[in-house]
């Protein structure tokens, strides 16, 4: 490990903090009206017009199975690049707030423990302590690849 540091964007949902690599973030914009798509999956809210491009919008609260929240002028969209085998496309994520951009050294990132976590570990790239609170680093490609609401590990544990 050479301890190389990468920049991450920190955003919040409810009280939790999440991080995504800044390299994946194209831009952060404030709320614009959404053209809704019906029959879309619950968390796929519709599409927006971003300077002449059509970008699907995903509500991260709904994707993670949290309570929905009304959109206001202060709602934030994070536009991210999704790289698939075929092409690169953009997706907008609705989050509560964007907090900060931080540098995280790669060797500081801890592996996610197998149990005791909200999400299945495959959706997390790792966790890290920042300013005394835990930040979950999301594994974006696997979260957006799932068609459904992200499964929550706890549910499965109680079943066992």
């Amino acid at each position: 490990m050479d301890g190389s540091a990468n920049k991450y964007l920190i955003f919040t949902l409810e009280k939790e903090r999440y991080a995504i690599p800044i390299a994946k973030v194209q831009e952060v914009i404030s709320y614009v009206p959404i053209t809704s798509l019906h029959e879309a999956s619950e968390f796929l809210k519709g599409v927006i017009n971003l300077r002449g491009r059509i970008i699907p919008i995903i509500d991260m609260r709904l994707k993670f199975g949290l309570q929905a929240k009304e959109y206001t002028e202060r709602t934030i969209f994070i536009i991210v690049d999704i790289v698939t085998a075929k092409d690169v496309y953009h997706v907008g994520l609705v989050v509560d707030a964007v907090q900060d951009v931080v540098e995280i050294a790669e060797d500081k990132i801890e592996k996610t423990p197998e149990v005791g976590f909200k999400f299945k570990s495959k959706y997390l790239q790792g966790i890290i302590q920042l300013q005394d609170t835990m930040v979950m680093i999301l594994n974006f490609d696997s979260i957006l690849a799932t068609e459904d609401v992200v499964e929550i590990a706890e549910k499965i544990e109680t079943n066992v």
């Binding site: 798509l37 029959e39 796929l44 699907p56 957006l144």
Partner: protein
């Protein structure tokens, strides 16, 4: 040692027709040979990779050859372990196997054996190039890359013109084109120090110079030889590309490619055929009798007239034939007409199209905003409308840049057809229509592979062997018609072969065997349903696997790649008569004539070309069958199903006060549909934007669009829409 394990594994798993594995085996072989540099074994094994390479083109001998290579490798192992005395014996043993391999390959390598083989020269020069030969190779990525694409283009052109020449072998214009192609390649190659390419193209150039001067005739056999040479050149070019144009690695690899036998062959041909005149050849082919020829030649001495002129004057050639030939020549002349071209990368063009799309949207947004604030702004009407005009001119221009005629693909397919037919010892005539039809270049890029597959299939499974055809009372030469034309809002590409057709029972048996359908349900299937089985993965009705097809991978891939570009494919067939593939493609992915409607809260765009009429009717005239979900409208003596767009798009349905319904009547796939919408905004040019992979599950949308006011609309794909209804 490891190396040998590798090659053994490759050979043990080898399957006939697997050219990729063969090339790996060849590479491994080369690695092994390199280990013996300086050893007598090095020389003995030297030509083995070349034989493996050749046998990649001849599936029927592959298993046999691989067995021999296996023996050779075992021999090499024994050789390594043997003491000095036994070494000689082992070497002899290996030599024997190599000779066996050589004789098998050469016996079956028709391209080379149809013509006299220059034995002596081959021996002299068979050692191939040395690193020194390439010491002048320019180490410049850009230059080499440019050369690669330029040479590839020239080879494409030469290949295409050669096809024409097969039917019109004395056309000077065409011969000159090929001559120039090789001449240019030779020039660039010599400048860059790509010696092998230079020498091959030089030899080719000489041949065509001789043909041009009328001292040699381009026979079918010669065309075969030239084709083989073009393939060799391509192989050499591919080597350059595969080493990412790094000079050092290319040099190393070049020393292993021995092109001398081929060059020698060309030289030999030149010597032997040099002095034959057109007349002599005509006589050989039985088109002129010796007496006729003599008279013509004597006449030629008296006048300045050309051979062809005299032939026609003497009525030795049918007037109609001459006229047809002239017309063909004329057509080609206009084709060859030079226009200056600038090369632009696909990537740049695509982003240009994207940006222009945005510009158009922005322009209309700007216009609306200015219109709103007309009083407070002092922009003159003229400036605004001029900006409008320029934008739309740029848009048209850029969009036309994105369109390319399908000709390029068709020409490539003719080459494919020709090669496939030869591989399978069949004769096929390809007829092409509508090659000037233009398609979006992104569509063109995707369409080649599926079309190639269908063509190869047609020749392998469709077209019967000449004997079978004669027995069935058909012309010995198989016929494949390839056509493209505008139809509705899209383009239709049709491939028809006059072969044995599809045996529907065979397909059914296979479907039942694969448990795709139950025996008792068979009667419920339509013909279309049955043909559709053929698009399923792993479905092949061919009894025997050939190198060309029959492995069950194919039609499913065809369908998938076509779906990628919103294309569809259908099969029609009549046993014993024909098989026809109809491919329907959207004209362009970028822009359509749209009809904008409002349903619920959103705007939906329907393809304008499919709309027959707009109809307002009272909802009480609808006839609804009991228990049926859909209503039927009786209109113009037809029963048309009524579809409420709200249901499909899951929009709210607002009842109108006056009981009247606003609807669009669509004609699609030989049926009519009545689609009820809330209101109509009108016809508009729509820039279709991708909705992204995320929204791909919406089969009934082909994309989205952004209107002048910045709002988003969804572009409806009729096939998907109708499917969703069903």
């Amino acid at each position: 040692m490891l190396l040998k394990d590798n090659i053994k594994k490759l050979m043990d798993n080898f399957e006939e027709g697997d050219a990729l594995a063969l090339s790996e085996i060849k590479d491994e072989c080369q690695n092994i040979i390199q280990q013996f540099a300086g050893d007598p074994l090095h020389e003995v094994l030297g030509s083995v990779p070349a034989y493996i390479q050749i046998c990649a083109r001849i599936p029927s001998i592959q298993t046999q050859c691989v067995e021999l290579v296996k023996k050779i490798i075992t021999g090499v192992e024994e050789y390594q372990q043997a003491n000095e005395e036994d070494k000689k014996k082992a070497l002899k043993q290996i030599k024997r196997q190599v000779n066996k391999l050589q004789s098998i390959v050469e016996k079956n390598n028709k391209d080379l054996t149809t013509l006299p083989k220059p034995q002596e020269q081959q021996k002299e020069e068979a050692k191939g190039y040395t690193l020194e030969d390439f010491s002048h190779l320019v180490d410049d990525y850009k230059l080499l890359q440019q050369f690669f694409s330029e040479a590839t283009e020239h080879l494409d052109s030469a290949q295409f013109v050669l096809l024409e020449l097969e039917h019109d072998s004395t056309n000077k214009e065409l011969i000159n084109t090929v001559f120039r192609n090789f001449h240019t390649i030779k020039g660039s190659a010599s400048f860059l120090g790509v010696k092998n390419i230079e020498e091959i193209s030089h030899a080719m150039e000489d041949i065509f110079a001789t043909i041009r001067d009328g001292k040699m005739i381009l026979t079918r056999e010669l065309v075969d030889v030239i084709f083989y040479g073009i393939e060799t050149l391509r192989t050499v070019l591919d080597i350059m590309q595969s080493y990412d144009f790094k000079a050092e690695e290319i040099k190393k690899s070049f020393t292993t490619v021995n092109v001398f036998p081929y060059i020698a062959l060309l030289k030999k041909i030149l010597q032997e055929y040099q002095y034959k005149k057109i007349g002599e050849i005509l006589q050989e082919e039985g088109k002129l009798t010796p007496v006729q020829l003599q008279t013509v030649l004597e006449k030629q001495k008296e006048t300045d007239k050309k051979f062809g002129e005299i032939v026609t004057e003497e009525r030795l050639v049918e007037h109609d034939d001459l006229l047809a030939a002239l017309q063909k020549q004329q057509k080609l002349k206009t084709k060859i007409k030079k226009i200056g071209y600038v090369k632009v990368s696909n990537e740049k063009l695509n982003s240009l199209i994207d940006y222009v799309g945005e510009l158009v949207i922005n322009q209309s947004m700007l216009k609306q905003e200015i219109e709103k604030n007309r009083g407070s702004l002092s922009i003159s009407e003229r400036t605004l409308s001029q900006a409008d005009m320029i934008t739309s001119a740029i848009k048209d221009l850029v969009l036309s840049m994105g369109m390319v005629p399908i000709e390029e693909i068709f020409n490539k397919l003719r080459v494919v057809a020709r090669n496939t037919a030869q591989e399978l010892h069949k004769t096929v005539f390809i007829e092409v229509h509508g090659e000037e039809t233009e398609l979006d270049r992104n569509v063109i890029e995707t369409i080649y592979d599926p079309l190639m597959h269908i063509i190869r299939n047609a020749i392998d499974h469709g077209i019967e062997s000449p004997e079978e055809r004669v027995k069935a009372g058909k012309d010995k030469v198989g016929r494949i018609v390839l056509s493209a034309e505008h139809k509705g809002s899209g383009i239709e590409i049709v491939i028809t072969d006059d072969g044995r057709g599809i045996d529907i029972h065979k397909v059914l048996d296979k479907a039942i065997a694969m448990q795709l359908v139950k025996k008792e349900d068979v009667t419920k299937l339509t013909e279309k349903d049955i043909y559709n089985f053929m698009f399923l993965p792993g479905f092949s009705t061919s009894d025997n696997v050939t190198a060309v097809s029959g492995r069950g991978v194919g039609l499913d891939v065809v369908k998938k790649s076509l779906e990628q570009i919103h294309g569809r494919v259908e099969i029609h067939s009549e046993p014993g008569k024909y098989t026809r593939f109809i491919i329907k493609l959207p004209l362009t992915l970028a822009i359509i004539e749209g009809f904008v409607t409002i349903v619920g809260n959103n705007k939906y765009v329907f393809p304008f070309n499919s709309i027959e009429e707009i109809l307002v009717f009272n909802k009480n005239i609808l006839q609804r069958q009991e228990n049926a979900r859909e209503s039927i409208l009786y209109h113009r003596e037809m029963h048309i199903p009524v579809i409420f767009a709200h249901e499909i798009f899951k929009e709210d349905y607002k009842e109108r006060d006056d009981d009247r319904l606003l609807s669009l009547i669509f004609a699609f796939d030989q049926a009519k549909y009545c689609v009820v919408v809330d209101s109509i905004l009108g016809k508009q040019e729509i820039v279709v934007k991708s909705l992204g992979t995320m929204l791909n599950e919406y089969d009934y949308f082909s994309g989205g669009t952004i209107f002048g006011d910045g709002s988003i609309g969804f572009v409806v794909d009729l096939q998907g829409f109708i499917d969703a209804v069903k």
